[in-house]
């Protein structure tokens, strides 16, 4: 009976700590910074345990086109005004995507979505900047 009680306490405490810790588990997040009128940087932060692959989707305002990007985008969906980067073999740390647009852009007009598979659950996670 003692064993049963002890294990219940352990189980409850484990669940509680897991619930509290879950937002801090390995993930991908990012922010968009303005470098100058026509250049923005998507700063990506990867914390362990990191997935190996992430898709970053950048929503573009109407009339805005990407003139150059480093690294280059993997695909451009003109109609949907989206550019996507498929980043593979990523490791914990930081990663920057430098983008030059055809005209002045306020970063507040830009939206980035980070899509990846959660390492522990295997479920798709979507995070926005």
């Amino acid at each position: 009976m003692y064993l049963l009680k002890t294990n219940w306490y352990v189980l409850v405490l484990s669940l509680l700590s897991l619930a509290l810790a879950s937002p801090c588990l390995g993930a991908i997040s990012g922010a968009i910074e303005q470098k100058d009128d026509r250049i923005a940087i998507v700063r990506v932060k990867i914390t362990p345990p990191a997935p190996t692959t992430v898709i970053i989707t950048l929503d573009l305002p109407e009339g805005v086109k990407i003139e150059e990007a480093k690294p280059k985008y993997s695909r451009l969906l003109d109609k949907e005004r989206k550019a996507q980067w498929l980043l593979t073999g990523i490791k914990p740390g930081k990663l920057d995507i430098l983008i030059r647009f055809n005209r002045e852009v306020d970063v507040k007009e830009l939206k980035a979505i980070f899509r990846y598979k959660d390492v522990s659950s295997g479920k798709i996670v979507e995070a926005t900047n």
């Binding site: 997935p51 190996t52 692959t53 898709i55 695909r75 969906l77 003109d78 996507q84 598979k117 798709i124």
Partner: protein
């Protein structure tokens, strides 16, 4: 039907060695499957007529793919047959004793319901406690989980990957035997790590080490001659030997359909969507020699949609019309 044998039997050591060598099996392989050490197998093969437990003789016969009688010392076959048939008779007649007490108590139970109720509650409590103690995971018990990741579709004549992931705990030095029964019409073009043997559609790996997460990947080619939408089935087992031997069936996906879709296209809609490409990369990440398979998937994803070119025997990327 299982042959009726005494608790201990004597093996024919020469026969064992000969059959094992004919089958091209190593002592390590046989030891792993039977669940004994290599030294034991060596002893069985070198002593003249070693005595072994009946269970071990049966496992050995199964491993060597022969009838158990074939590997036993047989001084006189006719006597053996007589004793066998005699031994079988009492077994058939034996019936498990019926426990009539609870029923009788229930019939008379009107008089003392409280006592029966208390007895039942006590029994239930004892059962729950016993179940908890029995099934409570012990920190020392070996836990094994094996799963197969097999695509839903693959076009005729094209390649697809299969991954077997094995999670074992706790960390310890061990021998792992993986047996994967694949359709004989499939051609394996690559395996990472390389397989130990492949014979009559039975793919085998033997791994020794203490890693807790193992990945075994192979690339197979869907036969060109297969009928469209025909399904192929896979099955397999993983046997792990440390101080105890545990054998589990490989779970996960077990069938693939011959259809004009890329292996990464799970729903067969001629598009590789974001989730499907993430799945493909997560599946094969860190596995050497998979880049060409992944590159093809990436090209199809980037294009938006694709079709299978039957004449060229390859997938052709196509831009979505509205883009």
């Amino acid at each position: 039907m299982e042959p009726s044998l005494p608790q201990t039997v004597r093996l024919d050591s020469e026969k064992i060695r000969r059959i094992r060598e004919e089958r091209g099996l190593t002592q390590l392989y046989v030891a792993t499957v039977v669940g004994v050490t290599i030294d034991t197998i060596s002893r069985w093969e070198n002593k003249r007529y070693p005595s072994v437990k009946r269970e071990n003789a049966l496992k050995l016969a199964e491993t060597l793919e022969v009838d158990v009688q074939e590997i036993l010392e047989q001084p006189d076959d006719s006597k053996q047959d007589e004793s066998t048939s005699k031994e079988e008779q009492p077994k058939e007649k034996t019936q498990p004793p019926e426990d009539k007490e609870p029923k009788e108590e229930a019939d008379k139970g009107g008089r003392n319901i409280l006592l029966i109720l208390l007895w039942a509650i006590g029994l239930l409590g004892a059962g729950i406690l016993a179940g908890y103690l029995i099934f409570k995971p012990s920190p020392f018990s070996l836990e094994v989980n094996a799963a197969r990741f097999l695509p839903a579709y693959c076009a005729k004549g094209s390649l697809f990957p299969v991954l077997i992931r094995i999670d074992i705990s706790p960390e310890d030095k061990r021998t792992v035997l993986i047996k994967e029964d694949i359709p004989r019409t499939l051609k394996i073009t690559k395996a990472v790590p390389p397989y130990t043997s492949l014979e009559k559609g039975l793919l085998k790996w033997i791994y020794q080490g203490q890693t807790t997460n193992l990945k075994f990947v192979y690339i197979a080619r869907m036969p060109q001659s297969i009928k469209e939408y025909k399904t192929l089935r896979f099955r397999g087992t993983v046997t792990i030997k440390t101080n105890q031997t545990v054998s589990v069936t490989i779970g996960g996906n077990s069938q693939i359909t011959a259809a004009p879709f890329n292996w990464a296209d799970k729903n067969g809609d001629n598009r590789i969507d974001d989730e499907e490409i993430l799945d493909a990369y997560e599946l094969l990440s860190g596995v050497k020699g998979m880049s060409s398979l992944l590159k093809e998937v990436e090209t199809l994803w980037a294009a938006g949609q694709y079709r299978w070119d039957e004449r060229a025997k390859r997938f052709v990327p196509e831009k979505i019309a509205h883009e």
